[in-house]
Subunit: 376 residues, 2 copies
Amino acid sequence: MTERFGFTLKATDGKARTGVIHTPRGEIRTPAFMPVGTAATVKAMLPGSVRETGADILLGNTYHLMLRPGAERIARLGGLHRFMNWERPILTDSGGFQVMSLASLRKLTEEGVRFSSHIDGSKHMLSPERSMEIQKLLGSDIVMCFDECPALPATDEVVAKSMRLSMRWAQRSRDAFGDRPGHALFGIMQGGVTRDLREESAKALVEIGFDGYAVGGLAVGEGQEAMFDVLDYAPGFLPEDKPRYLMGVGKPDDIVGAVERGIDMMDCVLPSRSGRTGQAWTRRGQVNLRNARHQDDPRPLDEDCTCPACRGYSRAYLHHVLRAQEIIASMLLTWHNLHYYQELMQGLRDAIAEGRLAAFVAGFHAQRAGGDIGPL
Amino acid sequence: MTERFGFTLKATDGKARTGVIHTPRGEIRTPAFMPVGTAATVKAMLPGSVRETGADILLGNTYHLMLRPGAERIARLGGLHRFMNWERPILTDSGGFQVMSLASLRKLTEEGVRFSSHIDGSKHMLSPERSMEIQKLLGSDIVMCFDECPALPATDEVVAKSMRLSMRWAQRSRDAFGDRPGHALFGIMQGGVTRDLREESAKALVEIGFDGYAVGGLAVGEGQEAMFDVLDYAPGFLPEDKPRYLMGVGKPDDIVGAVERGIDMMDCVLPSRSGRTGQAWTRRGQVNLRNARHQDDPRPLDEDCTCPACRGYSRAYLHHVLRAQEIIASMLLTWHNLHYYQELMQGLRDAIAEGRLAAFVAGFHAQRAGGDIGPL
């Protein structure tokens, strides 16, 4: 294993890329999907099982961890990796997005954001400097700049003002991060759905210089079409030799479209969250296992899937444990969904490496159009 | 594997026994602790993990399964083993106890019990004949007689009347069960805490003839002392060459005391249920991981335990995920508790086989008296 952070681009197919991110804690094959471990756990999964699905890296949420159990406490206990028993790479977000969506009594200033915890009402401050400090205390391998992003739709004026604040915060994040060999700092491009603002943001970030670049401010309600419009040009504003991370995305077809447009990393709560509510993602599309049509169905969720849910259980069983609100329902469906997501990523990586992405994507859409295998 | 049900007594130490129950689905080492898989799942555990803790057999609840997803449905889906992905032996209770504790609008007659489901209010009937039919539909390896048991304390008259009804039901259960090679039917001794009634019940059962005998009607609020008083004589009323099963027991010290008194099998929801509420059972006694004294404790729950919770996590982490109500808390603590219980059973089996049970039991109590390893 390398002692420094780095990115090797191995192959491209159109705009799509495949490669490897090197970190002292292991390699991350790209395009990579990062399961979300909000509160130091990927919900309903043991870390060994998350790894078995094929995940090379997890995402941790700075906002949640700073509130409970606290970043200083995690540092005293040896850092987030040891705390949550995951020795491979961890990327932490900056807390900025979650403060704006979860905390109460928020006050945004040039300095940062003051807010009250959604858990116990306690008062806290997040700034570029404090976010860097927290992410260092956690021991994060890939640290994200502290940024701010307005909900869309918003006027260009609002988006531009917010983006420029985020760029000043990016510089402060870079300064506060300092030099930490083996750890990476990623900048976050903002600018909403406005091309000029995206370009301005990218230039500002590249001038500062980061180990990787995120496309932020998408997947916040603008819809897939608007998101793909931005992704048609935004990755092109970023250096080719650094990883590009699309934050908070997404559904399987979002992921495929983003990879086609040159994205290397993604994260989303969707596979785990929808698993807990009985929504399964499969090659043939989405299946709601709470639906009564599954109650007598002896077939597995997906005959060709090798995850424990599909190898060991019928749709009837999954339906039963969902209806009975048994924990095993969350365990099995989260595992299945994460397995499916990682299998999709492996398929994308292989297709790019072999120069057959277009055929892979056509097959992906054709299988989904065929729909669920249906009732007996 | 044998094709017939049988019991081989291998060694005794005082009244305590160790042996093997043979079934077509595998051997059950006795004394055995059976984790409870009420609704076709040991809550928060995958079946492979339950097996890893050392369990040879699970218990399924007829009452829950007949209501949801339904015994006929499970039969159509290939039986309970396939349904829940557990290929080893399963013992099912008769539904009698749970009807009396969970169902509403109960009407008890000589025929059986009419009741309304606690889930949806639907009306059902359980009788010896229907209980045998349901347990056959489930594919249970060890079937329990349909019985009735009054809450203690109760007058001798009430206990005797109830016990004699259960004995008539035992005969009807035996008749309805018929001849099913490879499957066992166990009778259930009743009689409360009254020696004469226990003896009368045992004689009635032995006259009918069963593959094993349970001591029923204990662990229903009478306290450990009263329970041990009964266990001082009740197992002696039963044939030596058949397994003896104490239903619904118990805490680790209940289990040790029962094994000392000649019990071969037990079941209890305690290790799984208390795991979900943050109660851990260890060699040194009970630990409540929700307590704030654990929040900075880097030590494992039990340094000498080899379960995933103790190998991978600190007390601080277990405390955190409990407080954050994360599913992994239930997963890890259930696993730990079941692991501890099975390790205790293995310790008891080895000690009996080697004729050193008294020393083992003295060590068990001494370690617990030493108490939890305490705060930092």
